[in-house]
Symmetry: C2
Subunit: 184 residues, 2 copies
């Protein structure tokens, strides 16, 4: 599906308030084709473990790691030829800029702010992108961004080394559980 890689950087994580939101953000990123995630703010091993457990069971190699200095992470990303997309309700409409963002060759770092994003994020980002200019959720914004970036192909990803595979059903649940050797 890609040569270019896509990572998420979640700013200003606060374990108490954000535990579920940040975990869900990263699970959405993984399910929708991103390659991995970073977060700044307070270190929270539970987040990393929750995501790791999902990756172990459901496949792929999506991982989350902590960064102490988000500004440095962004600067390094750009220094290595990557580009930085900041999702913000104040930015340019997704539907107007996604064509140009799709054509970027370098790796993408998608920055998702906390409630009080420093003004310097807007300046450091190559792209400030809004998914509607309405208040909603960083999870829905990221989902629509990735969906548009990958043009819907992310809906059909097969995750390698999955131990749990769902077989889609009109009604009810069908789940395959594979043992470590990949036999059912």
């Amino acid at each position: 599906m890609k040569g270019r890689r896509v990572f998420i950087l979640r700013l200003d994580h606060r374990p108490k308030r954000d535990k579920r939101a940040t975990t869900h953000l990263f699970l959405a990123a993984r399910a929708l084709g991103a390659d991995g995630g970073f977060y700044s703010g307070e270190k929270d091993e539970k987040i990393q473990k929750s995501v790791e457990k999902v990756t172990e069971a459901w496949g792929g190699d999506f991982k989350v790691s902590y960064v102490t200095d988000w500004k440095r992470k962004i600067m390094e990303w750009k220094a290595e030829g990557g580009e930085v997309v900041h999702l913000t309700m104040y930015g340019l409409p997704l539907q107007h800029v996604i064509g140009r963002i799709r054509s970027i060759q370098g790796d993408l770092l998608v920055v998702v702010g906390g409630p009080k994003v420093s003004g310097s994020v807007y300046k450091l980002a190559d792209w400030n992108v809004s998914v509607t200019s309405q208040p909603h959720s960083e999870i829905s914004a990221l989902a629509l961004f990735l969906h548009e970036l990958f043009e819907g192909r992310e809906l059909s990803i097969s995750f390698k080394d999955a131990r749990i595979i769902i077989v889609p059903q009109k009604r009810g649940k069908k789940v395959l559980r594979l043992d470590l050797q990949g036999r059912e």
Copy 2:
């Protein structure tokens, strides 16, 4: 944009655990073109108030109300000619069924489960739809469902009677605040 109306029914809300997730779910529903929301589980006026405050400031008429009996709500919906879509990781892939769901004339009730969805939801739903068969978030699942249902037109909705309007910017923030009479 529509004749058909789209409402969200969030099952089994628990205020302690779900406060932010349910609020964000409804805010995403509103921002992405749904007409209103219902929830079951524990009554939680904070949810309704949070969403009301957003609607008052940002426009439109999206409202959330509590239902004591979700099963009855679903039965009534169907009795009145509406159809019911249940978002579940076990259902049929979004990309395979969305064309047929788009062509439904009746109102749609989009059911979003709690962690332990009763088996009867699968039976009552006209459509069990998966947005990937991977674990992620009800917020990302709903966002992609609405985006595909409305074919991207929801990204450009103008909300009527908005007091706050964002003017998209390449960098920084531009916000118009209107007084009650709609003058700047």
